[in-house]
């Protein structure tokens, strides 16, 4: 994997705005950055990102199957007990997932490591699927990149196919916090793809969803919400005013309730417990477990220094893994990785397609979207992002 500097298109801002990408600059800082791209070999894409992505996904599904049968695990994840039936019913009903994004630390040499799984409300899919592709086409045309450059990118087509399977003739509502231009843009793109898949759609702000006394959620036109995509996290829905009504309402949600397990950062610790030493995982612990392990280390004199180092790393990682979870390896890992490839899970298939430029040592909420591209016979991509709210993405 190489980071290659290149010339940016002089008209990229107007190009972005013409296609609805109006959040290319957030809080005065550029989010989209095409002054460099990342080049991968085909082997890196297929064997070092795609294959591990499948493996991580399989581990995650095994974790969900375990969690919904184990109250202790759900308690450790701090998922409210009232919603356990909602989660397990959606799992056993096999409610389908549309997508998710695995953020990996990867330097092109060792195996990629899972930093976090944005399983519930991932953004940046428009930038990845569309604008990154536009960049490649124009960059080739303007001789910014070699004519044989390619991009491992079929998200747009697969998204449309996924909507066809998920829709099944039902009307689709797409809900989120539409005051955020980034969220509105993501919803707009997903709605566009759904319409291309033949679905009838309605966009609605999450707070505009209403409740009718026949037990259905409804939109502003009092249409029953049968199938809804939500760019709004389960953990917030559980605690909001309508949270308790989720349990009996017949609405099918995308992402489904069982994704509430995987969007929880505590899965990093659970995965490490279930698959200790796995090459695609970083050591991660629940805070209490970590402190107990640390106490044991301190008790053994010689290993005290190791304990101190790990505690330091854990504290560094706490900025990422909040609420009682920490990943001691993460802070150190992010220190030397220059990009964070985002590997998408789309309709249960892996698809690597995004890179982030960390501004500091740790992945945070102010990362840029960097283009991923591929040189012949490699693959290339590019882009950048910086979420404007604290919502999990």
């Amino acid at each position: 994997m190489q980071r290659l500097a290149c010339t940016e298109r002089g008209d990229w801002r107007s190009t972005a705005e013409q296609c609805g990408f109006d959040f290319h600059t957030i809080d005065g800082e550029r989010y989209w950055d095409e002054r460099a791209y990342y080049a991968f070999t085909l082997d890196q894409i297929e064997h070092q990102i795609e294959q591990p992505t499948s493996e991580i996904d399989a581990m995650c599904l095994e974790l969900v199957a375990h969690a919904i049968e184990d109250e202790r695990t759900l308690r450790r994840l701090k998922i409210p007990e009232a919603f356990w039936p909602l989660i397990s019913e959606s799992w056993y009903r096999d409610d389908a997932s549309l997508y998710g994004r695995l953020d990996l630390s990867y330097d092109g040499r060792g195996p990629p490591k899972l930093l976090e799984y944005n399983a519930d409300t991932p953004t940046s899919i428009f930038e990845t699927a569309v604008f990154q592709w536009t960049w490649l086409e124009q960059a080739i045309e303007r001789q910014i990149v070699p004519a044989h450059a390619d991009q491992f990118n079929s998200i747009h087509e697969r998204l449309i196919e996924a909507w066809k399977k998920l829709g099944q003739g039902r009307h689709l509502h797409l809900a989120g916090m539409t005051e955020s231009s980034e969220d509105a843009g993501t919803l707009a793109y997903l709605e566009d793809a759904a319409r291309q898949a033949g679905l009838a759609t309605t966009g609605i702000d999450i707070e505009d969803i209403g409740w009718r006394d026949d037990g259905n959620f409804v939109d502003l036109d009092e249409r029953t919400i049968e199938l809804a995509f939500k760019l709004y996290p389960w953990e917030w829905m559980f605690h909001d005013a309508f949270g308790a009504r989720l349990i009996k309402a017949p609405t099918r949600w995308i992402e489904p309730p069982w994704k509430a397990v995987l969007s929880n950062k505590g899965i990093l610790a659970l995965l490490w417990e279930m698959f200790p030493g796995h090459p695609n995982l970083l050591p991660a612990y629940f805070e209490d477990d970590f402190l107990r392990a640390q106490a044991a280390l301190f008790a053994r004199g010689r290993q005290c220094r190791a304990g101190l180092r790990r505690r330091h790393a854990c504290e560094a990682g706490r900025a990422i893994w909040r609420r009682g979870f920490c990943a001691p390896g993460a802070g150190a890992a992010a220190e030397f990785f220059r990009s964070i490839p985002g590997a998408w899970e789309l309709a249960d298939r892996p698809h690597p397609l995004r890179a982030l430029n960390p501004r500091g040592r740790e992945p945070d909420h102010r990362q840029q979207f960097a283009v991923l591209a591929a040189r012949h016979p490699v693959k290339t991509l590019s882009a950048s992002r910086s979420p404007s709210t604290a919502r999990p993405r």
């Binding site: 296609c19 609805g20 569309v130 490649l136 509105a184 707009a188 709605e191």
Partner: protein, 72 residues
């Protein structure tokens, strides 16, 4: 991959943005605590800023009786 693919948007972008439901992009002009959102008639209207899932004042609906303002 590029030779066989074409990414087309049918709604997003300047050509179509005003014609379909993608009128999400926020506009100003409502004053403090309010925001402009598209109404069902396609015209913008002002409403209170974010209240979460079930957080809007018109959130309860009687079956077949239209909106029940104020939350019943």
């Amino acid at each position: 991959m590029k030779r066989s693919r074409r990414v087309v948007l049918t709604m997003m972008g300047t050509a179509a943005a005003g014609a379909v439901s993608m009128s999400f992009v926020p506009r100003s002009g409502c004053g403090p605590g309010l925001t402009v959102v598209p109404g069902m008639d396609g015209k913008p209207y002002c409403r209170a800023t974010y209240g979460g899932f079930g957080g809007a004042p018109h959130r309860f609906h009687g079956h077949g009786h239209g909106h029940a303002h104020g939350g019943g």
